[in-house]
C-alpha cells in the first residue's frame, strides 16, 4: 500500500485537519463593537468595520466618496433626494426600500445625537419605492460625505433584533470578546465568503503572539517592533499599506514659545520627515493635512530647511548660545512635547522629533499621558503629537472645520485666523469636487505659513496574515476591515 495515501487518509480524518477546513477565519483587532445596534454609541462605526453595517455612500480605496447603498443623491432646493440601488435587502431577507430607509434615518437621528451632528434634525418623506426626500435642519454642502458617516448606517429595528445590510451577519456576540459572523445569505456571492470570528485583542504584543501561534488569521494591525519576529515565522505574511490617518504635531498658539508663528514655522522646517518614517519602519513623509490617498492631498512633501529654521528663530529673538541651545532674555527655548501610548508609533517618533528640533536649538522634554484628548481640551500642553483620520467621510473640509476654524470644537491649538475662517465659509458654498479640492489646497497652504500644526507623516499599517488569509488586501482605513471581498484559502 502506498504510504502517502495512508497518511493522507489519516490526516483527513484527524480532528486537526477537520478543524483547519471548517474553522472560521479569525480576525484579531483591538476594537470590537459594544452593541449590535448601530444607533448605540459608536457601534455604527464598529459594525461597518466588521462588515455588518453599510451606509448610503462610502469612501473607496482612493479616498473618494462613492455611492454604496444609494444609487445617487440630488439636490432639491434645500432638500436632497436619495435614490436607492434596486433589489437591496436586509440580512433577514426583507427589502431595503424607501420606507425602510426613512425608518432607519428617523430612528438614527432620534436615538443618536451623533447622527444629527452635521445636519441637525431631518424631515423625511418616501417619494416612491426607491426615493426618499431628506430636508436637513442645517445647510449641508458635501451631502455625500454626510451620508457616508457611520451614525447613519442603514438598519431595520425589529423588536429586539436589528438587521443590517452588510456582507456578514452576526450569529454570536460576546461583548468585549468575540463576534461570530456568517455570510449574509441575501448579499451577492454569499457562498464564496467564509465564516468569520472577530476577536478583541487589546494588546499589540498579544496580537502578534496570537498570529504566531496560529489562533489568528488576520492580525489588524501589528506594532512595528513585532514585524521582524512575525515575518521570520513560516507561513505568516505581512502586508503593509499607507492609511488615511495622519500624524502631526499640534502647537499651543496661546503659550510661549509657540505663540510666535516664526517659532512654529522654525519647528516645522527643522524636522526631516524621513527620520520619522525610519523610526517606525515605514510610512510616507507628510505633504500636508491629508495623506496621499485623498484626491485633494498636496503632492510635495513638507520641506526641511534647518538654516531657514535657525534664521526664523534668530528673527524671533531666540539666540543660540555656545552650546547651540537658544534663549531670549535669559529664558531658554524649551517646551514639553506630549504624546500618548494608544498610538505606539507616536511614542516611537517622539524622541526623533526631539532630536530634530534640538538640532536648531530647542530643548524638548517628552511627556507621555494616558488620556491625551482631555489634556488637549484643557489646553494643558505646549506641543502634542496627534494622530487622526484626515477625512472620515471623505470630505477634507471636515478637519479644517473641526481643528482650524477659530471656533472649531477641536481647535486645541487656540488658533485663530479670520482669513482662514472666511475661506471655510466660502467652501460651504462650493459643491463641485474639483473646485472643493482647489479650495482645500488653498486653505492648507495658509496653514503652512501660520503653522498651527506641523504635518509629520502618513503611517503604514501592517496586517499580519496566515496562509489561509494570504489573499486579504488591507484597506487604507480601519473603517472597513472585514469586507465583501474577504475570502479564505482552503
Amino acid at each position: 500500500m502506498d504510504m502517502r495515501w495512508f497518511f493522507a487518509v489519516l490526516l483527513a480524518l484527524s480532528p486537526i485537519a477537520a478543524d483547519a477546513q471548517t474553522r472560521p477565519l479569525v480576525v484579531g483587532q483591538s476594537f470590537l463593537t459594544d452593541s449590535l445596534d448601530p444607533v448605540q454609541g459608536v457601534a455604527g462605526w464598529a459594525l461597518q468595520s466588521h462588515g455588518v453595517a453599510e451606509t448610503l455612500f462610502t469612501v473607496d480605496r482612493q479616498g473618494r466618496v462613492v455611492p454604496h447603498l444609494a444609487e445617487s443623491v440630488r439636490r432639491d432646493g434645500e432638500a436632497f433626494v436619495i435614490r436607492l440601488k434596486p433589489d437591496l435587502k436586509f440580512a433577514d431577507g426583507s427589502p431595503l426600500d424607501a420606507a425602510a430607509l426613512k425608518a432607519s434615518l428617523e430612528r438614527a437621528t432620534r436615538e443618536n445625537p451623533r447622527a444629527r451632528a452635521q445636519t441637525g434634525a431631518l424631515a423625511l418623506m418616501a417619494l416612491d419605492a426607491r426615493e426618499v426626500r431628506m430636508r436637513p435642519e442645517r445647510p449641508v454642502a458635501a451631502i455625500e460625505s454626510v451620508l457616508a458617516e457611520f451614525p447613519l448606517a442603514v438598519h431595520k429595528a425589529d423588536g429586539t433584533n436589528v438587521h443590517m445590510t452588510g456582507p456578514f451577519r452576526p450569529v454570536e456576540f460576546r461583548r468585549g470578546e468575540t463576534l461570530r459572523l456568517e455570510p449574509n445569505p441575501h448579499y451577492r456571492d454569499a457562498g464564496a465568503r467564509p465564516n468569520v470570528t472577530i476577536r478583541r485583542v487589546g494588546d499589540a504584543q498579544t496580537l502578534a503572539l496570537a498570529l504566531e501561534s496560529g489562533e489568528v488569521d488576520i492580525a489588524f494591525n501589528l506594532a512595528p517592533e513585532t514585524l521582524a519576529r512575525v515575518r521570520a515565522r513560516p507561513g505568516i505574511g505581512v502586508k503593509s499599506t499607507p492609511v488615511a490617518y495622519q500624524y502631526m504635531m499640534l502647537f499651543n498658539t496661546a503659550k510661549a514659545p509657540f505663540d510666535d508663528p516664526r517659532v512654529r514655522r522654525a519647528a516645522d522646517l527643522a524636522i526631516d520627515r524621513a527620520t520619522l518614517t525610519a523610526a517606525v519602519n515605514g510610512g510616507e513623509p507628510a505633504s500636508g493635512m491629508f495623506p496621499r490617498v485623498f484626491p485633494f492631498a498636496a503632492e510635495t512633501p513638507r520641506p526641511t530647511d534647518t538654516r531657514e529654521a535657525a534664521a526664523l528663530l534668530d528673527a524671533a529673538g531666540w539666540r543660540a548660545g555656545p552650546d547651540g541651545r537658544r534663549s531670549k532674555d535669559g529664558r531658554p527655548l524649551e517646551f514639553t512635547l506630549t504624546t500618548y501610548p494608544q498610538r505606539p508609533d507616536l511614542v516611537a517618533i517622539a524622541p526623533v522629533v526631539r532630536a530634530e528640533l534640538e538640532r536648531v536649538g530647542f530643548r524638548v522634554r517628552i511627556e507621555i499621558v494616558e488620556a491625551i484628548t482631555p489634556q488637549l481640551q484643557a489646553k494643558r500642553f505646549d506641543a502634542s503629537l496627534w494622530a487622526m483620520h484626515a477625512a472620515p467621510g471623505g470630505d477634507g473640509a471636515f478637519v479644517f472645520e473641526q481643528y482650524l476654524r477659530s471656533t472649531g470644537p477641536s481647535n486645541f491649538m487656540s488658533f485663530a485666523d479670520p482669513a482662514l475662517d472666511a475661506a471655510l465659509d466660502s467652501l460651504r458654498e462650493i459643491d463641485a469636487a474639483p473646485a472643493r479640492a482647489a479650495a482645500l489646497r488653498e486653505i492648507e497652504r495658509r496653514t503652512f505659513v501660520s503653522a498651527p500644526i506641523a504635518y509629520l507623516m502618513t503611517p503604514v499599517w501592517h496586517v499580519g496574515l496566515s496562509a489561509r488569509a494570504a489573499d486579504y488586501v488591507p484597506y487604507p482605513s480601519d473603517y472597513y476591515v472585514v469586507r465583501a471581498d474577504l475570502r479564505a484559502r482552503p
Binding site: G41, P113, R116, E177, V201, G202, Q205, T206, Q377, P409
Partner: protein, 305 residues
Amino acid sequence: MRALAAELARATLLLWLASLAAFAVVRAMPADPAALGLIAFGQAADPETVAALRAQWGLDRPMAVQYFGWLADFLSGDWRRSFRTGEPIFEEFARRLPVSLTVGFGGLFVALAIAGPLATAAAKRPAGGAARLLDAATLGAQAIPAFFAGCVLVWLFAVEFRVVTVLGEGPGRYVLPILIVAFTGLGPLAQVYRAGLAEAGRADYMRTALAKGADPERALAGHGGRYARLGLSAALTAEAGWIVGGSAVVEVVFGLPGIGAFLVDAVAMRDYFVLQAYIVVAAAWMLIVAAIAAVARRALDPRAG
C-alpha cells in the same frame, strides 16, 4: 446584635461617602465626555451635538439633581448606560466581575499555596535555597512588570511549546493570567509569613517550648504558624482589596473581558456612570474584605476585638 447594627450603619455611611466622593472626583476630571466621545471617532463636536449628548445623558441638570438622581437609580439597580457603549452598566459589571474575581482569587489562592511552604522553609534555613528563591521571587515580582512577564509566558507556552492558547476559551484560558497574578502576589505574602515565623522563633513562648524539649520545626509550625498567619491575614486583606479592577494589565494582555479592561476605556472616555459605579463597587468590595479579615483575625487571635 447591637455591634452588628453599628457595623452595618458604619458600612452604609462609608458607602454613601464613597458614592459622594465618586461623583465629585469623576466630575472634577478635566474634559467633557460628550466632546471626547465625538472627537475620538472623528465626528463633528459642534456645540449643538455636544449639548444634545449632554442632555441625553442628563449632564445638563444641576449637580445635586444629577447626584441624587444617579444615587436613587443606582440603589434601585439601574446603574444607567455607558456613554461609550450605550449598554446597561449593571449587566456589564455582572458579566465582567466573575472574570476579574476568577483571575484575582485564582492568583491569590495559588500565591498562598506556594507562599506557605516556601516561607516556612525559608524561615527554617534563612541562608538556604528556599530563602534565596523567595528573595529572588520577591525581587522579580517587583522588578518585572506583569505586562512583560505575561508576554514572555505567552510566547513560551503558547507560541513555542503550544501547550496553551493565547486567546483560548474555556477554563484553560485562565491558567496563565492566574500564574501572573500569583507571581506578583507571592513575594509580599511569603515575606510577611516568613517575617512572622522568624519573629515567633525569637519569642519567649518559643524558647519555653524548646526548653521543654519540643521539636524546633514542629514548634515553629505550631506556635509560630498561628502568629505568622495573623500577619498573613493582614497582607492578604491588602492584596484581596485590589482584586476588583486591579488586574487590568493582565486582562488587557490576555484579552480577558474583566472589570479592569473595561475601566481602562472608561477612564480615557470619561465614562462617568461607569467610573462612579466602579468606585462604589470597589468600596463595597473593600468593606467586605475588611469584614472577612476581621472575622479571620478574631478566629486566629481571640484577644482581638
